[in-house]
């Protein structure tokens, strides 16, 4: 049985300076895989590099040699001495390597637990390995299991449910107020990265129209084009409050842009349809007293940050459930991996043929009404027939000179005879 080895560094073991030095770009990754493939003890390899981690997954017959070779390769490729990164490096073997990969893919090992990008990055890495032909039977199976497990963790736990960024938190809140955001109108006051991000999320949630108000009308006009919306003059804000539902404010104004006195008459004019103010500005733009008016809600930047902190705690709780799913998957993979060897395969093959013979003999004996002697003769005949049939495949599997990737041959035989079912 070949060993699965994972070596790497991540945000927990290495500072960003070191991770930067060791990161591989997409082109570098494929060059790296080419080099690794030429190392005789490494049969399969896969490499992924994100801003929080660099990890190398290998399948090998000689793990000490492979680990040494891999370290040397990283050192040579990035031109840093081994001593500089060795203390930050972790090496996992077999079950631990499989578990680590599953945890990474399911985003349990991420800096922000549950963030969805990592799975895409690993899929990308797998595509790279497939193109470089450095992934074989074991890594193919392992990666597909990893994708499956990651999906299961995501759907069966609440790990990715709650918003952990300001703009998502704002959308989450809006949905608790309005239900569906379809057809709602948004007003953006001012500009700024966070505010614009929030508007983009709202647009993705099908709000109908976006208005943009800026002190400099031209700036507003430019921004509104980006959102496919409409620019209004700063002085017109009060009047538009009657028709918009969500207001995102992010101006540099020293005082309140919207006060309670402006909003109070608007509520009646709106026939009490709810109105939601998101105040991302510091100092604040929206008078917090507005939150006391009926059917109007105000959240400022600190409130949103509070939500995010709560949500991160929730995710961590959900992650515990994810670990359970992963434990199960690791065991299932180990069973498959251990069976992928010569002896278990021969045993399974024989078992399958014997079971078939047994069933057929039983049918024949019953159908023909044979005597005990005849049935014994039949059994002996079947036994030697099975031995003859298995002789050549057994020799083939045991022969030391079996060419190329041994796992591949075993895998083919197992599939041919459906031994894994």
């Amino acid at each position: 049985m070949r060993d699965i080895i994972l070596i790497g560094i991540n945000h927990k073991t290495a500072p960003v300076e070191l991770r930067e030095c060791m990161a591989f770009s997409k082109d570098e990754s494929s060059t790296a895989l080419d080099v690794l493939r030429r190392i005789s003890t490494i049969h399969e390899a896969l490499l992924y590099s994100t801003c929080n981690r660099v990890e190398l997954l290998m399948v090998t017959d000689d793990r000490n040699h492979a680990i040494g070779a891999a370290k040397k390769f990283i050192s040579d490729f990035n031109k840093i001495p081994i001593t500089e990164f060795e203390s930050s490096l972790y090496v996992h073997e077999n079950d631990e390597a499989v578990r680590h990969l599953f945890r990474v893919a399911a985003s349990l090992d991420s800096m922000v637990v549950g963030e969805p990008q990592i799975l895409g990055q690993i899929k990308e890495a797998y595509r790279g390995a497939a193109q470089a032909k450095s992934a074989g039977v074991i890594l193919n199976r392992l990666m597909h299991r990893a994708f499956f497990v990651a999906k299961r963790v995501r759907t069966e736990t609440g790990i990715g449910d709650r918003a952990v960024s300001i703009s998502y938190a704002a959308v989450e809140l809006a949905r608790k107020i309005f239900g569906s955001l379809e057809g709602k109108r948004v007003l953006l006051i001012g500009a700024g990265e966070m505010a614009e991000l929030a508007v983009e999320h709202l647009i993705r949630n099908q709000v109908s129209e976006t208005l943009v108000a800026n002190r400099t009308f031209e700036n507003g006009l430019e921004l509104s084009r980006r959102f496919n919306g409409k620019a209004i003059r700063f002085e017109e804000i009060a009047e538009h409050l009657r028709t918009v539902d969500i207001i995102i404010s992010s101006t540099g104004a020293p005082g309140f842009v919207i006060t309670r006195d402006i909003v109070k008459p608007v509520i009646r004019a709106r026939r009490s349809r709810p109105i939601f103010f998101i105040d991302i500005a510091v100092p604040r733009d929206i008078d917090p007293e507005i939150n006391r008016l009926d059917n109007s809600y105000v959240y400022d930047i600190d409130d949103l940050k509070g939500i995010i902190e709560e949500n991160i705690e929730d995710r961590q709780k959900e992650a515990v459930k994810g670990e359970r799913i992963i434990d199960e998957a690791v065991i299932r993979f180990r069973e498959w991996h251990e069976a992928l060897d010569v002896v278990p395969t021969i045993v399974a093959l024989r078992g399958k043929l014997e079971a078939m013979a047994e069933a057929e003999i039983k049918r024949t004996v019953q159908g023909q009404g044979m005597s005990a002697e005849d049935s014994q003769a039949l059994q002996r005949m079947m036994g030697s027939f099975i031995n003859k049939v298995l002789h050549d495949p057994t020799m083939y599997l045991k022969r030391d000179g079996m060419l190329g990737d041994k796992s591949l041959h075993i895998d083919t035989i197992r599939k041919l005879f459906k031994l894994d079912e």
Binding site: S272, N291, D294
Partner: protein
């Protein structure tokens, strides 16, 4: 007490437990189990009421025990329909324990059939009682939705979101469901009052006799009429609407229980 009603009470209790567990633990299967138990309870309950109807030959609403049982049945039925229409699963947290509570009270009340008189054998009476009860069930649910609305609104306004925020649906869904309940309840209450008037005319020869129950029903009707009017005319919604739904149900509850227990009148002989 017959077997069907005992089974239905047990199922209602099971359903209440399922919904409460769902509310705390947030597992979908608990909610489904609660809903299935509720439907089961409702089926047995319906069977039991049907049996009573055929055995007694008139609608089983002759004493407190029977009217309460009918009220519980109506709440369960309206909730089941509402759940299909609005998919407001969480309302079961209010509806299932509410029904279970009513039925537990029912099981503790004495079962002494009242003197059946010719009064009970009339189409108008069956229509009057059934329609009124289904309407009242809709108001009961409107009250429940109103409570959920206030809880959710409070958690959003105060920004202390831990418990209810996650578990309760959006304000918009709660508000529109509550409104739908009140529209349905009001329509049925109106029809129920009219059939009651017709029935009164046929039995006593006059439409209205200032019986306390009649008066209080009239007050409740006016109250809900005002609520609907405000909503349509000035757009009363959200918090105020929710509070009104809760207060309105309080008036209704008084009409149902308070009048039965404390006041005299010609409804009294039905509800001893």
């Amino acid at each position: 007490m017959e077997a069907a009603i005992i089974i239905s009470i047990l199922l209602y209790l099971l359903s209440a437990a399922g919904y409460l567990a769902y509310f705390l633990l947030q597992r979908g299967y608990l909610q489904r189990a609660g809903f299935i138990a509720l439907i089961g309870g409702f089926v047995f309950h319906t069977a039991s009421l049907g049996l009573d109807y055929f055995q007694q030959g008139h609608i089983p609403a002759t004493n407190m025990r029977e009217t309460l049982s009918l009220a519980g049945w109506a709440v369960a039925g309206v909730f089941i329909l509402l759940n299909y229409r609005y998919n407001l699963k969480i309302l079961g947290v209010y509806a299932a324990p509410f029904v279970a509570l009513i039925m537990v009270i029912v099981s503790q009340l004495p079962d002494q059939p009242a003197q059946t008189t010719r009064l009970f054998k009339s189409f108008w009476l069956v229509a009057h009682v059934t329609v009124i009860f289904v309407g009242e069930a809709a108001f009961a649910l409107a009250c429940g939705v109103g409570i959920l609305y206030l809880l959710q609104e409070n958690s959003i306004k105060t920004k202390k979101r831990r418990f209810f925020f996650k578990r309760l649906p959006s304000l918009d869904l709660l508000d529109s469901t509550g409104y739908a309940c009140i529209v349905v309840g009001f329509t049925l209450l109106t029809i129920g009052l009219i059939t009651g008037l017709v029935y009164a005319k046929s039995v006593w020869g006059r439409f209205w006799s200032w019986d306390p129950k009649e008066v209080w029903s009239g007050i409740a009707w006016l109250f809900y009429a005002a609520l609907l009017h405000e909503r349509l005319a000035v757009g009363w919604r959200g918090r105020r609407s929710a509070i009104m739904a809760i207060v309105g149900f309080g008036v209704l509850l008084f009409t149902f229980l308070g009048v039965n227990l404390f006041m005299e009148g010609h409804h009294r002989e039905f509800t001893k």
